[in-house]
């Protein structure tokens, strides 16, 4: 069943017309694509419904893949574990001894923290996670950095919720589908997170660079106080991310800040946690037009 040779229409009027119609249709679909592209650059959420439906459909396959990835890795780690078991054991025992001391210190700090918070009349900072899920895939051939998450509105996930891993912040939910959602990773160029230096109050914005690193831009320009190895955590400004979640570590100093490496590499995380929006009432209030009065409470 070799395909017909399309380019030899000869004097056959019908074939000539067919050939012409083919080009017209192809040109028209390119034009349709261009129009849709302009619409979706202008308002990116226009085709959210279509996309979330599609990712809901394909997510079971992706989920199976994500489980295999985790399983496969632990399988190889188990084999590798047999090689240096002896020296590892000794090292672990030493580490445990140190960790016991640290644990006791941390406990003391926690108590002191609670007491101070009691003095200041603050709530406990622990937030209940909305859902735990796996990252099942990412847009690995596009310059945009999105990941697909195996939880959606059925699990209580809504647009804008922060996604974290035990190592730190991963991103935030951009489009929530029924049982899968699309996550804007921190390294996307459209992602902007308010951060501060972990040790003091140097505030900055962490902006994605699409190549796995972040650009730290200081808000107060002047002498750049950042040093190599400084760790940045979320500052809580903007009300989206709760403060104190680790984000990145500075690896290169620039004029107005630094280039930083992500602390929670999304490729190395098995399970991520979807957290509620930190100050959702404040966010809603900031989006409400000034004519409408805010509800009193």
């Amino acid at each position: 069943m070799a395909p017909p040779v399309a380019h030899r229409s000869g004097s056959n009027k019908r074939a000539q017309l067919g050939l012409f119609a083919g080009y017209v249709v192809a040109g028209a679909s390119a034009l349709v694509g261009a129009i849709l592209l302009v619409i979706s650059i202008w308002s990116p959420q226009t085709f959210q419904g279509l996309r979330t439906m599609a990712s809901d459909l394909a997510s079971p396959a992706g989920q199976a893949g994500a489980v295999t990835r985790t399983g496969g890795r632990s399988f190889f780690e188990a084999i590798a574990g047999y090689y240096d078991a002896g020296s590892k054991n000794a090292e672990l025992e030493r580490e445990i001894a140190i960790a016991r001391v640290r644990l006791a210190e941390a406990e003391a700090l926690r108590q002191e923290n609670e007491r101070l918070k009691g003095v200041l009349n603050l709530m406990s900072g622990d937030t209940e996670p909305v859902a735990t899920a796996r990252l099942i895939g990412s847009t690995s051939s596009s310059t945009r950095r999105f990941a697909y998450l195996s939880a959606g509105t059925d699990d209580g996930v809504t647009n804008g919720m922060p996604v974290t891993s035990p190592m730190g912040l991963v991103g935030r939910v951009l489009e929530a589908g029924r049982d899968s959602s699309r996550v804007l990773l921190l390294t996307d160029t459209e992602s902007m997170v308010p951060v501060r230096r972990a040790t003091d109050d140097v505030v900055a914005f962490a902006e994605g660079r699409a190549d796995g690193s972040l650009r730290i831009r200081l808000i107060n320009l002047g002498i750049n106080p950042i040093e190599l190895g400084d760790v940045f955590v979320t500052s809580g400004a903007g009300g989206l991310f709760r403060p104190g979640v680790a984000v990145a570590m500075a690896t290169e100093i620039t004029q107005d800040g630094a280039i930083a490496q992500l602390l929670s590499n999304p490729a190395a995380t098995d399970v991520v946690i979807v957290e509620p929006i930190w100050h959702s009432d404040a966010l809603q209030a900031s989006e409400q037009p000034p004519e409408i009065a805010l509800p009193e409470d």
Partner: protein, 184 residues
Amino acid sequence: MEQFNPRARRDAYGNKINRDHSPVLAHGIPWATILIGSLTPMLPVIAAAPVLPPMGLMFLIAWHLLRPGLLPLWAGLPLGLFDDLYSGQPFGSGIMLFSLTLIALDLLEMRFPWRSFWQNWLAAAAIIITYLLVAALVSGAQMTLLRMGVIAPQLLLSIVLFPIIASIVALLDRIRLLRVRRIG
């Protein structure tokens, strides 16, 4: 006849008597491979930078170079639409770029009906480079000239990978044309 040559009534695709190509296989395999190629974002690879080649587009190019006319010229619309749903690009970029790719390949076929492997590779590389550059520009990411270096590894990988895709397509083409349908 079979006494002298046991394969006299057979060809590379099977028995020629009483058997014919299956239209499902013949037309289904090219479409299916391109659609599966577009599903690469669902692979469990969480990439921090663009690294994987645009598999859907590469299968499209490989099929069209091997069998021009097998995919109709309007195929860019449905295939690009499907690619847009998963690729992370803004909706419409796949439709536009896949359609333009098919038109470009058709013009190439008209100008150079007989091509060697190297010409095919060159044409595919030119299309892939253009596609990735335009896709990066319209992606909605803030791409400056300096940042365009981000897609360099992906570009190289895609160009190097194309001959492998082309040979996969050649293999699939033999499966596509197997005479499996029984006549009468």
